[in-house]
Structures are given as structure tokens and as C-alpha cells.
């Protein structure tokens, strides 16, 4: 599985988007998540399973002055 275009070392079968975000410590409040190009909304993180060939993007939006 690729996370942000890099091989994701922590992949295991059955893991969800929420698992990836938690284990990657992606705590930033403004995320845009796309699984194979399709947007995954926050309420779907917990029940969206990622596969070994999937391309997951967790885009952290810019902020700051």
C-alpha cells in the first residue's frame, strides 16, 4: 500500500483509513483523504479498509500566517 506516494511500511491486512491515520500520528485537524483518487470523508475513516495495492493520500492542508 502506498501512503502519500511512498511505500507504507506499517501495512497489514484489514486495516482501515482510521488505523493508518492513527498509527502515522496524523493529528492535524485539516486533512483531505483520498483512496485511489476518491475522497474519503472523516465519518468513513473507521469503516474504509485499505488494500495492499491501494494508493492512499492523506493531504495536510496548509495553514499559518
Amino acid at each position: 500500500m502506498k501512503l502519500n506516494h511512498r511505500e507504507y511500511a506499517g501495512f497489514r491486512e484489514g486495516m482501515t483509513v482510521a488505523d493508518v491515520i492513527r498509527e502515522s500520528r496524523f493529528t492535524w485537524p485539516n486533512l483531505v483523504v483520498r483512496l485511489n483518487g476518491t475522497v474519503v470523508w472523516p465519518e468513513e475513516y473507521g469503516n474504509t479498509v485499505v488494500g495492499s495495492r491501494d494508493n492512499l493520500e492523506v493531504i495536510h492542508l496548509l495553514a499559518g500566517g
Partner: protein, 741 residues
């Protein structure tokens, strides 16, 4: 949790105190002017005040200046260029402080529309510094009839300059009795020039503070009157020592007084489109803020805790990024214990983002105001992280107290935080000791002695005099005294071009190393904040990608400074459907909003390319201005190694797994080779790789920006921009000829 409903109003000066102040004022000179009404965001007038001769004059802003420089930062730099010469230094009489808002500045229908831009020759960098600030002054200056203000000369007595739009006068007044510290001086002058309590909101004050007379890291405070709290509050034009120039000119304060703020004082082209755009944005804020960054609850400090998870919060002078005590400073803690909730904390009318948070009736435990209860403006992210984790301090109470005294003394919290962190590391390394600091114990986390150093700075006493120099001059002084090795201090003294770094650790983001290093004024993040795009999202993996970002974002963000806009409403809170857009990081709906605002105010349609062109003209002008002043070439874009990688063994060892892995996966060594290397050898290999990467980045960015390998804008590029002005060609042509030879 403290709610604004339970916050008692503050007490200002008494009538007796005000009478004493009023009686002490001596009118030195007075000038009448005819107020030019705004038309589509502009008056096309500039007010010049000479504090040496105590004269004021009004001039037209030529159409070609308006076309090329637009307003705000553009006007500031244009008029500053005309005032100075290559030998001008910060304390030369001809050095000016120029202020301007911008065409959109002062509208009240959208968030973040009250910014003032300021430029001067900096005591820290010897080149132009630009800084932006909220508060009332910039818009009020426009309402008084002026798109810009230039201040020149030096006064031999402390004066207050009053621009009174109600009387259409500019007066120079000797003001001997007012306090110097900003939190009192702003209260005094607001009360002094207001007709009554209700009129206080029509007064804007600009001042510095008691330390500004002595300190290179001094800033300017801009007031805004908080009707609910019954007090003046302050925002800061922090960077680059503008406050020191202000005090060196003998100015105690500027005051601007207007009749009343109304909805369309900018006399815009199409108020309808502005209203519609503003309403849509305000609805978004109400619906989305609590679910996203909670700017209305905690301001920019929302990011403290989460940025530590990404190793980005500068910790112990940027050695680390994880801020181990950061759980004491979470948004939850700040909201429940320190920051007043439920207040409409905007620093300009109509700002629904309302991130100018405050800690009310905060009890001071040190310094000249010990025992008093005050309103502390903050905590903002930069102040909190710089004064806090970067110095090993994690108690919000301590950080708020340092923040308060920095503000009222007129000291930039960013420079003070980064500078104190440098001094603490000098203390740790034996470059400083108690004997050399006059008894101050500058160990990590010692907030008490940190505060004592700050108080000494305000009194120009003891080690405070050394602290007042800023890092660049401190390094030279410590080396001259034989206390430390200059090349080593250059590695961990976090300044570039003379300006202290702002508060993000860029070690793992090459693009952000450029975002700091390839700036015009020095390492401030307001040009480009690319850490997530680069380090986390992996959206700009190649040099070309990074160079594109280091072209586009500095130009795009410069545009806010031409207009009088705050950048925060662009991307801190986004529309609920932003994820579905082609480019969520650009927040396309908000970019459209800005085009609508520009059209609504000026009547001119604008594209993204137009925005970039407007900005690039000013950006390259500033680059050439730097070159003209002797500091704008490739050598000046070098960065301290601490910004790019581990300087000492403890830093390498703290992230050894990461660095060892990078030597294999990125640098190309074998695992056996890495295992056989000493820590010093591994550090040397890491350093060589990272420094080479930075040089390649510079080459790529310069090409993208239309500059030579030495960082000089080419004549062809200036022609393309319509900026082949004779005075610019006179600076670049000799350098281009030398480079070709």
C-alpha cells in the same frame, strides 16, 4: 473556562491623570489638509511627516506607481527606495518608516481586511524589512485620506504625531509624561484623544515600548479598542526592529482619529459582490471552525500540540521538534485555563475568524507591573512556541507573562524567543556562564531568569544590553570576547541576513529550508510554508516541484500584503466541500473570493496570473533593493546548518534511526557502510548531502524566478514583468556583466 460574559471591564486612566497629561502637552506645529475621499479603495494621496522639522505635506501618488506597486507592501518599498541610498543605515535621518494598507484594506464585509504593511531599513539586517499587523491604524489612515504614510527625520524630543481626520489636521505635540510601555500608553492616548467613551473606538495608536530605544529586536504595537472589555488591545508589527527605528526618530506614538467606521468608506465599485462574498465566508466560519482548527476558540495556538507530533515545534533552540512538555499547552488547556472564550476577538471590524485571543485579568508576578492584573494579547503560535518549547519552557503562565512584557516593552516575541534559545544553548555549551551574564542562570526552562533578562533589556542594564543586540551581533561579540567559536555559533545561531528564524523546524523539509532561506527579508514563514506539502504529503518530490512551489507561494502570499489582507482566512478554515476540488491545498473557493473582493473594490477583473504578476513585480523590486543595500546575492541566502540538519551528536543520536535510514535510502550508502561509521562520520555524510541539496535547490529556484546563479534578476526577466525601470537596471546591469565575464 473563562467566558467573556464574566470578564470585568478594565479601568483606564482617571480624569485627573488625563488632565495632567493634557496639560503637559506642547503643540509644536500644526498643519491643515483637505481630506480626499476614497474612491474604489484608493485616495491616491500620501502623507509625509518629517519629525525633525515637524512638517507635514500631502502629495499625489503617480499613476505609474499605482500600476506597478498596487499598495501596501508595494507602496512601502517604492517610497522607501526613493528615500534612502546604499549608505543609509537604520539610524540615518533619511531612513523612513513607510506604512500603507492597500486597496482592499478597511472593508468590513470580509475577514482579515484590516492589515497595515510597514517597511524600513532594519537595524538587524541593514536591508528593507517588511512586516504586517492588524489593529485600526492602517484602515483609519485611509479613512483620514491617505493611502500611505512616510515618516522621515529625527526629533530631538519625544513627540506624538496626531492625524485627526475629524479636523483634517496633522499636529506634532511634545508629550513628556505619558508612559513608554505600550499597554499603558495606548490607554492614555486613546482616552486623551477620544471625545468620550463611545469615541474611543475611533482612535488608533501606534507605539513601541520602553525597550525599543535600546533593542535591535524592537517592534511596533498597533492598537484596537475592545468595546466589550473597555480597553485598548494591541497587535504587533514584529519583525526586523522597526520599533527601534521608530524610537530612534524620537516618536513616542502616532495617533489617528476618525469620525466613525461605516460599511462603505472605501467607496467601492460593487458593494453587492463584496457583501455576498463576505456572507458566504462568515457562514463557513460559523459552520466549520469548531470542526477544523478552532481559530475562534484558541487562535493560531491550536497547532501547538499537533505540530509536535510531526517533529516541527522548535525545541531547545531548534535542536529537536517534539516539544516534550507540550501537553501542558494543548488547545484544551489554553481554552479551559487561560484564554477567554465567547468573545468576538477580531483585530479589525468584520473579521469572523476572530483569532485575536486574550487572557483577561492576568496577574503579573514580576517586573514593574508585578501584582497588577492585565489583558494579555495572545497566545499566538509563534509567540507560544518561540517563548516556550524553544527555550524549554512549558508553563503557559510563564509564557503569557513573557509574552505580555515583550509586547508592552515593544519587543518582537519571535526574535526574543529564538534569541533567548540561542543564549540558552550558549549557556549550555559554556560560551556563557553566570559571570558573563551578570548572574543570570540561562539553563533551559528557567523562565524566571528569562524574564529578568527581558526586564534588564527594557532598562538597558546588565546582560539585557547584550540580549538587545540580536543573534547576529551576539555571535560576533562572543567570538570577539574569545568566549566561543564563530563558525560553531554560525551553525546553531538561528538567524539569516541578521533576522532571527520564526518558529518551525525545517530539518526534514528541503523546500521549507528554501522557504526560509530564499526570502527577501530573512527567515520568516510568511512567504512560504511548505513543510506539509514537502515532508508529509510528498506533493513536491523533485527539485523542479519544490522550485515551482518556491516561486508560486511567495508570490501568491505577497499579494495579501499588497492588498491590506490577512493571510489566515485564506486557508486556516476551508469550505466543507473543499476536498472535492481539484486543488484542495489552494482552497479554490477562497481564491475566487479574493478575486471578487478585488473586483468589488476596484472594478477591475483579476486572474490568478494577474495576482502573481502584481506580486512578482514587487518581489523582484525588493530583491534588487536588497542588492542595492549590499545584501541580496547568493551568499546571503546561505542558512545556518541547524535549519537543515543535526549540528551536534545529541541531535543526531536523538533521531539516529531516521538519519541512519536516510544514509542508506537517500544518500545511497550500504547498510554495512553505515554500521561501520562513527557518529561523527555519519553526521559529516549527512551534512554534505543536505548542504549539496540546498545548493541544487537554490540553482533551481533562481532559474524559476528568472534570476542568475548569483541571484540577480535578469534584464530580460525584468522586461517581461514590465519592471525594467532605470533605477533597477542601474543596480543589476553591472552585476550581470561581472557574472557573464
Amino acid at each position: 473556562m473563562i467566558n467573556i460574559c464574566n470578564v470585568a471591564r478594565y479601568q483606564g486612566p482617571t480624569e485627573e491623570e488625563l488632565k495632567k497629561l493634557r496639560d503637559s502637552h506642547v503643540l509644536l506645529s500644526s498643519f491643515e489638509y483637505e481630506r480626499t475621499p476614497l474612491f474604489r479603495g484608493y485616495t491616491d494621496k500620501i502623507l509625509t511627516i518629517d519629525v525633525g522639522t515637524k512638517e507635514a505635506s500631502v502629495a499625489d501618488i503617480p499613476a505609474e506607481v499605482k500600476e506597478k506597486f498596487i499598495g501596501g507592501r508595494g507602496y512601502c518599498l517604492r517610497y522607501l527606495w526613493d528615500a534612502v541610498n546604499p549608505e543609509t543605515r537604520w539610524d540615518s535621518p533619511e531612513n523612513e518608516i513607510v506604512m500603507s494598507s492597500g486597496p482592499i484594506g478597511g472593508i468590513t464585509q470580509y475577514a482579515g481586511t484590516g492589515k497595515t504593511l510597514i517597511a524600513t531599513i532594519s537595524p538587524l539586517t541593514d536591508i528593507p524589512i517588511d512586516s504586517n499587523v492588524g489593529g485600526f491604524f492602517g484602515p483609519y489612515l485611509k479613512f483620514a485620506g491617505f493611502d500611505a504614510l512616510e515618516i522621515r527625520g529625527k526629533s530631538d524630543q519625544d513627540i506624538v504625531v496626531v492625524i485627526d481626520a475629524t479636523r483634517q489636521t496633522v499636529t506634532f505635540e511634545e508629550a513628556p509624561l505619558e508612559h513608554f510601555d505600550a499597554h499603558i500608553l495606548c490607554e492614555e492616548l486613546t482616552a486623551l484623544y477620544a471625545d468620550d467613551e463611545n469615541d474611543k473606538k475611533n482612535i488608533a495608536v501606534v507605539t513601541a515600548g520602553s525597550a525599543a530605544e535600546y533593542s535591535n529586536i524592537a517592534m511596533l504595537n498597533f492598537s484596537f479598542y475592545d468595546v466589550r472589555r473597555g480597553t485598548t488591545r494591541i497587535k504587533q508589527a514584529g519583525r526586523g526592529g522597526i520599533g527601534r527605528v521608530f524610537r530612534n526618530k524620537g516618536i513616542k506614538a502616532l495617533v489617528c482619529k476618525v469620525d466613525k467606521v461605516k460599511g462603505n468608506l472605501n467607496n467601492v465599485y460593487d458593494i453587492g459582490i463584496i457583501n455576498k462574498t463576505g456572507l458566504r465566508f462568515h457562514r463557513e466560519m460559523v459552520q466549520n471552525d469548531a470542526k477544523q482548527n478552532d481559530m475562534r476558540g484558541v487562535g493560531t495556538s491550536y497547532s501547538l500540540r499537533t505540530l509536535a507530533d510531526y517533529d516541527l515545534v522548535p525545541t531547545n533552540n531548534f535542536k529537536f521538534g517534539d516539544a516534550p512538555g507540550i501537553d501542558n499547552m494543548t488547545a484544551k488547556v489554553l481554552k479551559s485555563d487561560w484564554l477567554t472564550q465567547g468573545a468576538a476577538d477580531g483585530c479589525w471590524y468584520g473579521c469572523s475568524m476572530a483569532c485575536a485571543k486574550a487572557s483577561d485579568h492576568f496577574l503579573l508576578e514580576t517586573g514593574p507591573y508585578k501584582g497588577q492584573r492585565v489583558c494579555v494579547d495572545g497566545l499566538e503560535y509563534e509567540s507560544a512556541s518561540g517563548l516556550g518549547p524553544n527555550c524549554g519552557i512549558y508553563n503557559p503562565r510563564d509564557i503569557l507573562e513573557i509574552n505580555f512584557y515583550c509586547d508592552t516593552y515593544g519587543i518582537d516575541t519571535i526574535s526574543y524567543g529564538t534569541m533567548t534559545a540561542f543564549l540558552m544553548e550558549c549557556y549550555e555549551r559554556g560560551i556563557l556562564n553566570k559571570e558573563r551574564t551578570g548572574g543570570l542562570d540561562l539553563t533551559w526552562g528557567n523562565a524566571a531568569d528569562d524574564l529578568e533578562m527581558l526586564h534588564q533589556m527594557s532598562r538597558n542594564e546588565g546582560f539585557g544590553k547584550i540580549a538587545a543586540l540580536g543573534i547576529h551581533k551576539q555571535k560576533a561579540y562572543f567570538a570577539e570576547m574569545g568566549w566561543g567559536d564563530l563558525s560553531e555559533m554560525n551553525d546553531f545561531g538561528m538567524e539569516q541576513k541578521g533576522l532571527e528564524y520564526s518558529e518551525y523546524s525545517a530539518k526534514e523539509s528541503l523546500a521549507q529550508q528554501g522557504g526560509y532561506g530564499l526570502t527577501n527579508k530573512g527567515p520568516q514563514h510568511d512567504e512560504a510554508w511548505l513543510i506539509f506539502m514537502d515532508q508529509v504529503n510528498n506533493q513536491i518530490p523533485t527539485f523542479e516541484d519544490k522550485a515551482e512551489a518556491l516561486f508560486f507561494y511567495p508570490m501568491f502570499r505577497t499579494w495579501f500584503g499588497l492588498m491590506g489582507l490577512c493571510k489566515l482566512p485564506w486557508n486556516d478554515i476551508v469550505p466543507a466541500d473543499n476536498a472535492l476540488t481539484d486543488d484542495p491545498k489552494m482552497v479554490p473557493e477562497h481564491v475566487e473570493n479574493y478575486k471578487n473582493l478585488y473586483y468589488g473594490v476596484t472594478g477591475q477583473r483579476i486572474t490568478t496570473d494577474d495576482m502573481i504578476l502584481q506580486s512578482e513585480r514587487v518581489y523582484d523590486f525588493q530583491r534588487i533593493f536588497n542588492i542595492r543595500m549590499g545584501k541580496g546575492l547568493r551568499a546571503d541566502d546561505a542558512i545556518p546548518y541547524r535549519a537543515a540538519g543535526p549540528v551536534f551528536e545529541e541531535e543526531y543520536l536523538s533521531r539516529q534511526e531516521r538519519y541512519d535510514r536516510q544514509l542508506v535510502e537517500i544518500v545511497g550508502l550500504t547498510e554495512e557502510e553505515v554500521q561501520g561509521m562513527s557518529v561523527q562520520e555519519k553526521m559529516a555524510a549527512t551534512r554534505k548531502y543536505r548542504e549539496d541539496q540546498y545548493q541544487t535547490l537554490i540553482d533551481t529556484v533562481y532559474r524559476k524566478r528568472g534570476w542568475t546563479r548569483n541571484g540577480v534578476p535578469t534584464v530580460e526577466h525584468l522586461r517581461e514583468l514590465g519592471m525594467d525601470l532605470p533605477e533597477l537596471l542601474a543596480v543589476v546591469e553591472p552585476l550581470l556583466a561581472a557574472e557573464e565575464a
